[in-house]
Symmetry: C2
Subunit: 479 residues, 2 copies
């Protein structure tokens, strides 16, 4: 970004890259064609950076050759999936090569007996479950961008999503990885194994490392039996505070772990409904909880959702709607999944936040968001995975503000919000990652000793700092 | 072991250690007092090594000082919990200091609202659940040594145990760690957070790192609602093959994930029953499955265990006994937990194996064990966490054999067993760890590229190789 620390992609290097992957799979010298790879879903010019070329490999061996070439020539390499990231993780901030994984999109093997599937990183997350439906199996990852995001990006970011309360996040399902290391070795980690302590847990180090420690070329995922029954509850509350205070109690009082507990305030639901031209009964409510229960029998699911519905009514819900068929369920979840997209349309000046706190602290955080929204007079719709303590607040500029008005205010809001989050024992990201977007705020949440650990790992595995440099932390000095 | 690579613990160093932790908490100069810390549960003189001193710190700050001293003086430090390990992980094979964690045994805080508990590493695993019982919460770890093992050791080894089929292993429950690094910094990782991608997943790198990357001084564990109902099934089969073939089908056919699926062959059950002077109906059966089902209601648990019982009968079980009260349940589980101990009494010449394979391969592995047992004419009782693909075979010398007779035979059996396991896509350890016991076999299962990754991490975090050196892999050359 400042002084050039990497070598440029010369014509000679381009020729070598073409020899490795084939001429048609190298994009270079055409800004219009390169531009889509200069950003992800993070808004703001300051987070974008043009690559010098985009390379679309088909095999691990090709990636290994590219990494060796990049190390030899000291060129930065940034892996990229669908580009649906929320922290700039796939943005080539040092220029160089973008390694686009879209051609590596085979479902390699379904192993029904072991309840595992092996996929390439470029498979769209939702395609896995469409493929599995007929086998009564499913993959429990459910990121909100599931219709577009690649499974490789899910693994790189340790995607969370809608079903994490019961099923956990991506990391729980990654049993094996084939990885190309930053220095160009192809290494297998784990395998079709439920338990494995044969060495350090490098798989879990790789999951969520945001493409800085290795490029995934094969992924073995654990599958679950497809629940035989599933019901969604849409629980309406008069106020956000009431809804959110109910969340920690659901599990502690009922002893039931629901599949999902999603929180949406009224403005968030309205925006998504308008964007989709959909109507769910938001007008009646200040906020709502979308609670999913699934299980191996209708009786059990009925037992569970009745108990949870009663809990919500006791906690002051005004209505509890039951969606017990897949059409209604999909309508409601589509609203939830499209909140982010709806706000993207409303304003280009906004921050999509991803703070995570101890679950019992979410009422305090929601209160703080309301307070900040009032103090600075900006929209701050709030929604997210309340059951995990992971809230997505959007801080949205009034449409009439200029960049000059917006930026200092956004900065102040983030500072106050992050300080409060840190006081709660929270962190800056629950599932979107740090990338380069949140890097400068890391010191609010973690110690220099912790960052030194990350640096030690990165230096050990990527001695020339070739793979996705400048993400999560800076290698030198303060991050 | 060969040339001395570390400095001796001199009188001056001992004085410094006494100044740090207090004179009475340093053991030195008395072989009788040091001997208990020269080994863990691994049998065989060749795996034991005397420490030069044992130090019993009370606080993270003391451990930080000890690590700084050890780095300055180049003395090896080996952390140790209850010494119930199965791979020599706590054995000070380079002499030096044993860091005994027994005094750090406080339950620091129960956070009911967040369903989390913070403990020190020296708390006995079972004490956590005894403490939690009155709050309708539980910690889902269930290692077979739970009455003696320390939670710190469970985290260091990523202990598995009896409930991992449904609940997963230790790693799933570790949300936060306070760690003293190998160079003596105190660092906090994670916290009371269900999701967190604020940096690499250092917690999961620490879990299962066998005390080579850091010393845990505080552990935040996720808790679960105490199941309101639990039932054990004891399913008797005529043969081990029949029992084990049933295992992968239970989940794929019923769609139910039981809490536990433990396999025990007849000789294993008999040994434990004789050791405990207990009688469970083993005489009728060639092998049995101990299957546990738990859940939030009696109806659901009944539904689940009826289905699973039917599955077992269809798969050829001769009897299915239902243990639906805690006394009977504990009797059966006590038999399972004591198989290892029973064989310890029978012979001192034995190997306790911990192989893990893709779950669908366990019938093949059990067949191979039978074949090897016949070929070499040694007892090979077989038991373990069949639902996870993790089998504990004991290879037990006939009582009349000498060491000279036993050792080459054991070596041959292990070689054949490990090669077959590797062919199945399996690994050498599912939960006991590598330590120094299994180090020389690592190359059967993992690549040099993988080991180089581990070495890079270890070198980055422990540049002087002070903390638990010589475990899992050798830093130089081939492991």
């Amino acid at each position: 970004m400042t002084d050039r620390t990497y070598s440029p992609v010369t014509n000679e290097i381009l020729q070598e890259l073409k020899a490795i992957v084939g001429e048609r799979y190298v994009i270079a010298g055409d800004d219009d064609k390169l531009e889509p790879y200069s950003h992800d879903e993070v808004k703001g010019e300051q987070y974008a950076h043009m690559p010098e070329c985009v390379v679309r490999p088909r095999k691990a061996e090709e990636i290994a050759e590219i990494m060796k070439l990049a190390n030899r020539e000291h060129v930065a390499v940034t892996p990229r999936g669908a580009g649906s990231g929320m922290s700039g993780g796939a943005v080539p901030i040092e220029g160089g090569i973008v390694l686009l994984m879209d051609r590596m999109n085979d479902i390699v093997e379904l192993d029904k007996e072991n309840m595992m599937i092996t996929v390439e990183p470029g498979v769209v997350a939702n395609d896995i479950n469409e493929y599995l439906a007929e086998y009564d199996l499913f993959y429990a990852g459910y990121p909100m961008s599931l219709e577009t995001c690649f499974i490789g990006g899910n693994v790189a970011e340790n995607a969370g999503g809608g079903k994490a309360v019961k099923y956990g996040v991506t990391s729980r399902y990654v049993l094996g990885l084939e990885v190309v290391t930053p220095t160009g070795e192809i290494v297998e980690l784990g395998g079709k194994l439920i338990k494995d302590v044969t060495g350090y847990n490098m798989i879990q180090l790789m999951v969520g490392s945001e493409g800085t420690l290795g490029v995934f070329t094969k992924i073995v995922l654990k599958l679950m039996p497809l629940p035989k029954s599933q019901v969604d509850l849409l629980c309406l509350f008069d106020s956000a505070e009431q809804a959110i205070e109910c969340v920690p109690q659901i599990m502690t009082r009922s002893g039931i772990i629901p599949t999902a507990i999603e929180f949406m305030d009224r403005t968030a639901v309205r925006a998504a409904c308008e964007y989709l031209n959909e109507s769910i009964p938001y007008e009646q409510a200040g906020a709502m909880l979308l609670i999913t229960v699934d299980g191996p029998s209708e009786e059990q699911v009925e037992h569970d959702y009745m108990q949870i519905g009663d809990q919500c009514m006791e906690a002051g819900a005004s209505e509890v709607y039951v969606a017990d068929n897949s059409t209604t369920s999909e309508r409601v979840w589509k609203v939830r999944r499209n909140i982010g997209e709806a706000y993207n349309v409303i304003s280009k000046r906004q921050c999509a936040e991803d703070i995570v706190v101890p679950p019992a602290c979410i009422p305090a955080i929601v209160g703080k968001l309301g307070e900040l929204s009032e103090k600075y007079d900006v929209m701050m719709p709030c929604f997210g995975h309340a059951g995990d303590g992971n809230l997505h607040a959007r801080i949205v500029s009034p449409p009439e503000w200029s960049d000059e008005q917006w930026e200092p205010v956004a900065e102040k809001i983030l500072n106050e919000l992050y300080k409060f989050t840190a006081q709660c024992g929270g962190r800056i990201s629950g599932e979107h990652g740090i990338g380069h977007k949140r890097k400068k705020y890391m010191s609010y949440f973690v110690s220099e000793g912790y960052l030194d650990m990350l640096r030690a790992v990165k230096r050990g595995m990527d001695p020339n700092n070739i793979l996705n440099p400048g993400k999560i932390f800076d290698l030198q000095g303060k991050a």
